[in-house]
Chain length 670, copies 2
Amino acid sequence: NILPRFYTHLYASDHLIVRRGQEFQLKVTFDRPYKPSDDQFAVEFVIGGSPQYSKGTYIPVSVAKDRQSPWAGRVVDSTDNVVTVGITPAPDCIVGKWRTYVAVVTPYGIRRTRRDESRDLYVLFNAWATGDSVFLDDADEREECVLNEVGVIYHGAYDDMSERPWNFGQFDYGVLDACLFIMDKAAMPITNRGDAIKVARKASAMLNSHDDDGVLVGNWSGDYTYGVAPTSWTGSTEILLNYSSSKTPVCYAQCWVYAAVFNTFLRCLGIPARVVTNFFSAHDNDGNLKTDVILDENGRIDKHRTKDSIWNYHCWNECYMSRPDLPQGFGGWQAVDATPQETSDGMYRCGPASVQAIKHGQICFPFDAPFLFAEVNSDVVFYSRNPRDGTLDPVKVNSSHVGRMVVTKVPGQDARRDITDQYKFPEGSPEERTVLEKAEEYGCHREKATPPEADVELDMPLMEVRVGDDFELKLEFNNTSDQARTVDVYVSGNVVYYTGVTSSEFLFKTPRVILDPKKGRRTKHILSNLCVRSQDYMRKLVEQANLHFIATGKVKETGQIITSMRVVTLHTPKLSVEVSGLAKVSEEMMVTVEFTNPFKFNLEDVYVRVEGPGVMPPKYKHYSLITAGSSLTWTEGVTPRRAGPTKLMASLDCAALRQVYGQAQLTVKP
Amino acid sequence: NILPRFYTHLYASDHLIVRRGQEFQLKVTFDRPYKPSDDQFAVEFVIGGSPQYSKGTYIPVSVAKDRQSPWAGRVVDSTDNVVTVGITPAPDCIVGKWRTYVAVVTPYGIRRTRRDESRDLYVLFNAWATGDSVFLDDADEREECVLNEVGVIYHGAYDDMSERPWNFGQFDYGVLDACLFIMDKAAMPITNRGDAIKVARKASAMLNSHDDDGVLVGNWSGDYTYGVAPTSWTGSTEILLNYSSSKTPVCYAQCWVYAAVFNTFLRCLGIPARVVTNFFSAHDNDGNLKTDVILDENGRIDKHRTKDSIWNYHCWNECYMSRPDLPQGFGGWQAVDATPQETSDGMYRCGPASVQAIKHGQICFPFDAPFLFAEVNSDVVFYSRNPRDGTLDPVKVNSSHVGRMVVTKVPGQDARRDITDQYKFPEGSPEERTVLEKAEEYGCHREKATPPEADVELDMPLMEVRVGDDFELKLEFNNTSDQARTVDVYVSGNVVYYTGVTSSEFLFKTPRVILDPKKGRRTKHILSNLCVRSQDYMRKLVEQANLHFIATGKVKETGQIITSMRVVTLHTPKLSVEVSGLAKVSEEMMVTVEFTNPFKFNLEDVYVRVEGPGVMPPKYKHYSLITAGSSLTWTEGVTPRRAGPTKLMASLDCAALRQVYGQAQLTVKP
């Protein structure tokens, strides 16, 4: 039953697993030699509770030449009692677990074999079959997006990116059944389960627990006491198996967890899928192309009135399929997003939206394209609030901040690929303008005012900072005028959730800066005496190690407003993962995870997780204390199940230190 | 505060109710004479929990010439201490209940009046304002679809239609607040509440109790013991007030109840809306253009295998609005459907879908157009089941049965209007073919086979039958061949729910009919000895008085299959409603409801309901027994609240007899 050409041999399952639109073979054994002229029989496939021929849930496959079956059947070979039958499931047939029977016409009527669970057959989507709606012509992408169990998820900041490994585990024992269970739990009609669009849409609703007791409970509070911290998971397997056995939502997730588990679901069923990360993702604007920042009359942020947020990054998925429900040209990669976005209009499912349609502003087509369009295209509009009557005047529009970069993993390599050009035309190009106008035609609101550009620019250059470091924040001013300028600047440093919501302010300074007039090419002025101490921010870190600086100010001479934002990704210490012994199928080897607490404080209530596809199922250990400077070493004996290249992935997580990851690559010998 | 030109004077409310995009006036009284040069003030409007200028939830309106407000403001008149201010809410502003303040700039800062609930202001959609997205240019339609409280709902069969009155009651005391409560209960973001598309979509989800504890619980079981039978309601008021006070779903509804209450919601908020009825509505096919009927090898219906159903009729709503989210040409009437359709893919909300898009097969645009398209365009496909291997062969395709007629009430009259041409091109026209091909391009599946037409046709002509009548069922054969034909016919008579689901079979006959060859023009052969007795069906009637006959047969000589379907609407006895005394505002008059049980059996557990807009709130009486032949008389004193033409509407309902309605028209003098 192992059929490598279906690329399904990797599934840890005792059942036959095939892909639709491609022939597989079954042996039928009779109690006497088979005579084609006399013995009429059919292989029957049945799915769901009320099988019906006209619904495609009952498929009798005849090998007789004169009968047409919805699934083609032929006798491949016949030797004595054994007939080998070749069967080709229709390329649009229902995906799921089919029951198999053999029906024989006898003089006494039709006789059917009994139900035998061991003969149940899984039929999956087939990215290799041209007739399948998920056919993907690029062999590298297909292999990556259906078969690769190991992924890389990008986070942090667009110019200082972090990455972490993830075990999608789509072939792990029980995962396929768990993915099918998700559709059962959603009461998704069996007859829709051959439609990749509907499967992806339904799953985007079911991956989150909102409305429908779906897979994962979101939690952005920083308190993960009654579940697993989102940063602690190393893969999808544990989550999916937990969900399918408990039948209740699993705690806790944030966007990358939703996206990673959704990716497992899609790959497991055979729909090509990948996780993408969008840096500076606009949220909560419900299809409007504006994220509002409110300043007071002095140019300082009015935190109380600034409600919109920009996520430092946001992960969603792309899945590959044709779109027969849309006009031509919108097939291919489709964006789907399973993260529930609390304050948007009941948006607890999102997509599939054609990436091509998003790029061209054709947001009138389903599903949820305006929302995804806004996530990569919003403007950040700074308003100055008139204290007299509360009205707001736009003083600065930053149209290049949001959707700064969209990345995903390169097929076949541990490298990242910038796919911003799939979502947007280049900043400032004529096409970009046309697309934004098109989106406005379809009802997206933009800020129309274009406040004059200030002749002073402000920037905060990139800094590479490790958790626990003291560092200096630099403000870089650029006076392009021929006159001196005086700027009153407000610099605020905040610990923020990656959703952009501020947790606490640890730095607030109000320097006055006097800028010389432009002298030839020399226009720069650097202010670098803003010292940030680790003790200021360490105790306040929340679920991710990000610091968010925002500087705003008013130029005294002109009244113009200048602004700059900077996310500082605090680089975490690494976790060491090492393998010793020969990596060989069915032979024990050793995995060692090591970590040294580099800080001057103790780490408490620490969870370490490790897993590796084909090598080791998810395991975790709890350490109640890792004192300052001390180390932990965890050695585990494991027995690889499968040959080939793979990875061991580990995470370390506690309230004071999150996002500590490590990995080891290895190749298991047969 | 009564402003007739807003058409809002009908609302029973103590508050100011205005429509957006149109000026209203407020008087501001100062404690000393107003001096325009010195006294700076603004009228402020605030809605929702966190008012924000940039979100349109905080609107300061200044009358100063140099300030621009989102809502225009001007001083209309100023006499001593009193300033009359004219304010024009933006035509796209948020619809709902606004709080009003006056802010005055004083030497000590801004002073604001205190919250005073009596100054709360309701702002509604405005079908009279060109700038509003719900602007409707036709004055008759606008008046009907926003202001008419009394509706007519059509049901029964397309060629033997019944109708019933309905009190939408959108102006009744508490109804506007109940409609706003529905959006609160749905946690619909305040900022979306100016968008008619989003309001209609959200309400289509909230009108049913699925998923979200919405307004009405559906029940098609025939057992309505723990609530009000769907056939018993006479209007929306009782339902909406019950929902907003109990905050839990109201029992019970079927399609016309959903549509009627949805209509109240839309009209109450100012969105033009009407209830439409589609005769023979295809369901459960999830966008496929096929309703399958399975016959056995003899041509008899296989009820066990026939799962799809065709509703005798189905009611939904149309609402009028522009569609900026779609390409041009798809504004105007939009279909929305609040009836939860149990077995379709999580379709507990449906629409708005452009009726224009449905007509042209442009079903790629949101929302849910393929589903609505199928409701009016499905083919009924008869399959013959091969007993040998269970495969099905299409033997007849009836493409004109489903969506036989769509009707609604004529504006300003109690007459019906056939609007089938708004949904479909004429049967058999080249445009119809093009549209179906277009829909197929967008993924609707149709039966491709075109089985040969039989040379024998079968029809069951219309019969007008009253509940309790014995009658004869006629089968009309038409042999267009030159040869004699023998047909074995299966005639089945069933009591069905209006959803097409069979409750019980009361008649089954298998006549053999021998048809003479065609002789010149004489081809008809009528079989009329099929007697239906009242005792056969009376005890089995379910929630509506419909009998469903289906005749199928196989022509012996050719093997061809012939079929015919007939819904017999059993006409119910009338309820008499009479008014005595002078109908004059604030003067008591008498309303008398009378009914005589015309049957030979007793009616038990009978509910009589009566109500009339502006005259009488919903009231009901319970009669435990109305013996055979006996009468009931219910007289009630009522005091009209409002002048003008109106109706009193009554229903009588018990398990043995449903859908008994009566009405009286009257004009209340001022």
